[in-house]
């Protein structure tokens, strides 16, 4: 074992390779006042959702038959699952394009992605009007195979419940291994080689399925036709939605890593972050290239510079993606955490704007109605997001999610339960266990 020498925190100056494995946050209180506040928000949202279950949609939302989709669908699902595409973007980079460095941050991406998807699905569950008919999803002969909505309503729950859950399973098994008894360890020694056996096959599904439904989210809007401003309505929308998902996935993972490492005073890792920044910049350029070619191809470029409301929105969205794309080309900025944080935040907002605008702002039915989310609608949307943040904070405290120095962790975990106590010592000294048995 070669312990990493302790480094003084050098955030903002130079970056040194510090990320070797997932390491849980074992110090400090979990339940901070801020987290308690988020728990209250989440509780209010879920209580409202519970009431919505026995009430019609009308009193809960400002949706109407012209603007039939409110922010639950357009923001919580269509926009936020782009941020939750980190597992897709990083996983493809790591496993398909062999960017081995990214394996260490996969867990962060996976947990955040899982939470974005699951909260989005909760939002969807309370948004649909006749959820009791959803049992049709298991009857393929009733499927309308040409519907993009079908693709999404089948693939999203499937992805979240099967593939993402499988990918985050090692978090739980690892904790069980180090904190459980001998029987549990024997069981895990038996199971983990099997998990490793099926893992490469399962992750094929974990990439193919989100490729399908992230592009189908754009495909949904094709049917809306002329209701969507021609700057956004385009046959390239499925591709752009997919690339925007990758863009947001990379950008949000960088953003999240930097924010959380700042919060928990973790040292950063130069090589992983610059790799991610490189990929983000590349995806941004790819997005802009497709967007430009699409606009020129359809002859709609003049609309982009008409400097009316829609054109300004388009220019805002494009510049929010263009700035990080260009800035992250420079090594000086790539290696400065502050610049990286700002640029990834800009890219996140830009990608989210692209995903959100055609569903709402540039969506103009001919009937003169308007839509602005009502208070319960907003409270529920905020509640779902808070639920995700709360779950993420718990996950990084109780499981080895965040990347860190392997030498700073003795494989002890924060115990579950309310009483505050010193973390139990690791079950077994590290080297006493043959390394190969500890698969998961």
């Amino acid at each position: 074992m070669t312990p990493t020498p302790a480094n003084p925190d050098e955030r903002g100056t130079t970056l040194i390779n510090h990320w070797q494995s997932g390491v849980p946050v074992t110090k400090g209180r979990v339940l901070t006042p801020f987290l308690a506040f988020l728990i209250v928000l989440a509780a209010i949202g879920l209580v409202l959702a519970g009431i919505r279950l026995v009430s019609p949609l009308g009193p809960f939302s400002a949706m109407n038959s012209a603007y039939a989709w409110g922010i639950w669908k357009t923001f919580n699902v269509m926009t936020l699952t782009a941020l939750g595409s980190g597992p897709l973007a990083l996983g493809m980079a790591a496993w398909v394009f062999n960017r081995q460095k990214l394996h260490v941050v996969m867990r962060t991406a996976l947990v955040s992605g899982f939470l974005f998807y699951s909260t989005g699905l909760i939002a969807l569950g309370f948004d649909v009007g006749r959820p009791w008919n959803f049992y049709n999803a298991v009857m393929p002969w009733r499927w309308n195979s040409e519907s993009a909505m079908l693709e999404i309503s089948i693939c999203m729950p499937l992805y979240c419940a099967v593939f993402l859950s499988f990918e985050i399973l090692p978090l739980f098994l690892e904790r069980l291994y180090y904190t459980g008894n001998e029987k549990a360890r024997a069981f895990l020694r038996h199971v983990s080689p099997r998990i490793r056996k099926v893992y490469p096959f399962v992750i094929i599904g974990a990439y193919v399925i989100p490729l399908m439904h992230q592009s189908s989210l754009g495909g949904l809007l094709l049917l809306a036709g002329d209701k969507i401003n021609p700057l956004w309505q385009s046959p390239a929308m499925p591709w752009l939605y997919l690339v925007a998902a990758a863009l947001c996935g990379f950008a949000f993972t960088i953003f999240l890593l930097l924010i959380v490492c700042l919060r928990y005073a973790r040292p950063l890792d130069d090589s992983v972050l610059t790799e991610l920044a490189n990929l983000l910049s590349g995806v941004c350029f790819l997005f802009l290239a497709i967007r430009a070619i699409d606009l020129i191809w359809r002859g709609q470029l003049h609309r982009a510079f008409a400097f009316n409301e829609m054109s300004l929105l388009f220019l805002l969205e494009t510049s929010l993606i263009l700035v990080p794309a260009v800035v992250l080309r420079f090594r000086r900025f790539r290696e400065t955490p502050r610049a990286l944080l700002n640029m990834s935040a800009l890219a996140c907002v830009g990608g989210m704007l692209y995903r959100f605008i055609p569903t709402s702002i540039a969506y103009a039915p001919m009937r003169s109605t308007s839509y602005f989310p009502s208070v319960p609608e907003l409270v529920m949307a905020v509640g779902y997001i808070s639920l995700g943040i709360v779950a993420f904070v718990f996950a990084i405290n109780y499981f080895a999610v965040l990347p860190g120095d392997a030498s700073t962790w003795d494989h002890s975990f924060r115990p579950f339960g309310w009483r505050r106590q010193a973390p139990a010592p690791a079950a077994i000294p590290l080297l006493a266990v043959p390394a190969l048995e500890r698969g998961a």
Binding site: G129, N136, L220, L223
Partner: protein, 318 residues
């Protein structure tokens, strides 16, 4: 180790060839083989039994006899919100109104026109294309009907419909999609014409075969040139063609009929995806290609993992 000098086993090579060949095939096949059996042609042809309504706004006197007739046939309550609970007075199509007569009045001139709104029963309806479990369906005579036992209430039909016809019951615990169904269950099945055309006293809206009505409409245009706006029938080509046809002396856009291209929305939305998802070919090929790359990188990762675990003593984390 480099991807280029990594030895390939025979099996791996076959897999790669299958994947690459499949990708090439998926790009080339659809243009030839699938073109003949297209499910959503750009310009759909009306089925032989397609019925239609022809509404001529120059004949409509705005008596609204069709509205209570529609409510009665469909068992809909009167929308009395605006009239203080006295009579049926909807402001547009809504959860209690499948059919409505609207009035267009130009504030600056004496130009005015009535217009009847209901489902257009498109030849290739966008709502039917989008409906995930086939709750909305185009049935005999071309009527577009809704089946409550399949609907999950996603409201995609409302987003998809270019005429903004389907209405969701926002105030109901068991919300339904309310839209004109051509009186399919109530009357068409029993060889009766829809309630609204049966009730119309002036013949402003008439019922018949789509071909016959189209001919009749063109006959009216020919008999009175320049009486009708653009000398054409709205619905003949709009969104691929509809089974409700309009004649109007006032601009179609002014009376609330959207300006649409002649390509069906279903064609626009599915022309690429229907090829990619044909027999799930695209996803399966994608899985093949990804699987090949993942398998190789996985094997490399395993070698490095063992190496790394031996060196550091730290277990690898998935």
């Amino acid at each position: 180790m480099n991807i280029l000098n990594m030895p390939l086993s025979r099996r791996q090579a076959f897999k790669a060839m299958l994947g690459l060949g499949g990708t090439v095939a998926s790009a080339m096949l659809p243009t030839t083989a699938l073109a003949s059996t297209e499910e959503h042609p750009a310009h759909p042809i009306a089925p032989a039994d397609a019925v239609a309504m022809l509404y001529d706004s120059t004949l409509c006197t705005g008596c609204k006899a069709c509205m209570p007739a529609c409510n009665e046939a469909n068992g809909l309550p009167a929308d009395t919100l605006l009239s203080g609970g006295v009579w049926d007075m909807p402001t547009g199509l809504n959860a209690q109104t499948k059919n409505i007569i609207e009035l267009y009045q130009d504030p600056n001139s004496d130009e005015f026109s009535y217009v009847k709104k209901q489902c257009m029963h498109c030849l290739d309806p966008a709502c039917v294309t989008g409906c995930p479990f086939g709750s909305l369906k185009k049935v005999d005579f071309g009527a577009v009907t809704w089946n409550g036992s399949l609907c999950i209430g996603c409201r995609y039909c409302e987003v998809a419909c270019p005429f903004e016809v389907p209405q969701f019951e926002w105030e109901a615990r068991n919300p339904k999609i309310v839209k004109c169904e051509f009186c399919y269950d109530q009357r068409l099945k029993e060889n009766l014409e829809p309630a609204c055309t049966a009730a119309c006293p002036t013949g402003a809206v008439i019922f018949g075969k789509r071909d016959a009505l189209l001919d009749q409409a063109k006959g009216r245009i020919a008999a009175a040139p320049d009486k009708y706006y653009e000398n054409r029938v709205y619905g003949e080509h709009e969104a691929g063609g509809t089974q409700v046809l309009y004649l109007s002396s006032v601009s179609f856009q002014k009376i609330g009929l959207p300006k649409l291209g002649s390509t069906s929305l279903g064609h626009y939305a599915t022309k690429v995806t229907s090829v990619i998802y044909k027999w799930l070919g695209g996803p399966i090929m994608m899985a093949g290609v990804l699987g090949f790359a993942i398998r190789r990188n996985w094997n490399r990762h395993e070698l490095e993992r063992l190496d790394h675990e031996k060196k550091t003593g730290f277990p690898d984390q998935l």
